[in-house]
């Protein structure tokens, strides 16, 4: 039985993550506020998705009289 300590390292995948997720996290500080870069990116994505949802035209269905 192979123990976890002696288990072979997983093979390198062709689709490795673009960011090394095994290192320390990166944090930003503003006074008493602290946020990780990862969470800040998620918040930014949410804000961008909201703005795009407001300004990107919605495709009209064809052949149903616009409804």
């Amino acid at each position: 039985m192979t123990s976890l300590a002696t288990a072979p390292a997983p093979p390198r995948l062709a689709l490795a993550p673009p960011v090394d997720l095994n290192g320390h996290g990166h944090y930003l500080h503003w006074g008493i506020l602290q946020v990780s870069v990862a969470n800040l990116v998620v918040v930014a994505v949410i804000a961008v998705a909201f703005v795009l949802a407001l300004i990107v035209p919605f495709p009209r269905p064809r052949g149903r009289g616009g409804r």
Binding site: A49, F50, A53, L54, G66, R67
Partner: protein
Amino acid sequence: MTEQFAGPTQEPVQEPSQEATPGPDSGGWTGALRRRLFEALPPERLLPDTQPAYVASWAYVFGVLTLTAFLTVVATGAVLALKGAAWWHVSGTGHYVNSLHLWSVELFMTFMSVHLIAKFFMAAWRGKRAMTWITGVVALGCSAFTALTGYLIQQNFDSQWIATQAKDGLNSIGVGAYFNTMDFGQMIVWHVALLPLVVSVIVVWHILLVRRRGVVPPLPLPGSAPRHVSETAAEAEVSA
């Protein structure tokens, strides 16, 4: 062939008496419940095939995106629960399903956040839709709580760190004896059995309320005449 048989006189077939026909107010509690359900949610309102014109906007898409992500979360979570930790930690397929579960949760929370922001700036509680808004907010809170218990049962250093940090916060409000984030057995039952049931019930309730009242119309533009806010799905359909 001529009918010549004139056998014994048969008793006329008894038509069901009027007394046996259920009246509009009969049927006991099941009849009352049925009438109330059909009144609140007739089939054409429960499963509509048209929507008001203002729904043709990306801002209205995030609700159904949230629901789609939620169904993916439930499906992948059911597979993980059936196969067990020894599978999702070791096998390649287990890793894949585990990742699907994580990323569908990420999308679920992201879509729900955008949905919440859009509905907040739309004042979506207008037109007797307060309970729709409340159930949505409660669904978000319960989902965040479910996500916390999910991170606690990853069985890695990350989950240990989160458990010790959350333990201090929960102890500070006096519930640590009842909800112990460092008790793996308790957390996995909360995550797999209790909280998914709670979230599912609230989500179904929320969707039924949306079907009953219809999708909230957008706010009127500044300077335009105040618009009547529809209070039912049928009214929303007509007013659009």
